[in-house]
């Protein structure tokens, strides 16, 4: 498993972290490529369902950011 790289699902709030991610992109900043972003309308939309669903689909980590 030496070439293993983590898969991380990031649930980002539309108004906060998604904006930050967007700004990071506009600013051409570099961040790890392991993150798959899912935009949610608000962190209040987050549910334990999503966390388990992500793990079940093979994610190695879940990051919730508001």
């Amino acid at each position: 498993m030496s070439d293993w790289e983590p898969k991380i699902v990031a649930f980002l709030c539309n108004w906060c972290s998604y904006g930050a991610a967007d700004l990071a992109g506009v600013g051409r900043m570099e961040y790890p490529p392991h993150i798959r972003v899912i935009r949610i309308p608000c962190t209040g939309r987050m549910s334990p369902n999503f966390f388990l669903a992500a793990l079940r689909e093979g994610a190695d980590g879940v990051w919730v950011s508001g």
């Binding site: 991380i8 906060c16 967007d22 600013g27 900043m29 790890p32 793990l55 190695d60 990051w63």
Partner: protein, 49 residues
């Protein structure tokens, strides 16, 4: 439940904090990398197919 602490991370980043986003993204990646591949809550491949 037996899910390793660190598989699930929370943070609070405003839409103006792109630098914080980049740092936290790196931290999260490192934390998960340290834990290794997730084996919990995954069905054996044969059954999924």
């Amino acid at each position: 439940m037996g899910i390793e602490p660190g598989r699930l991370q929370f943070s609070w980043i405003s839409s103006a904090e792109s630098t914080k986003f980049v740092t936290v993204a790196a931290q999260v990646t490192e934390a998960v990398r340290a834990l290794g591949p997730n084996t919990r809550f995954i069905k054996p491949l044969a059954e999924v197919a």
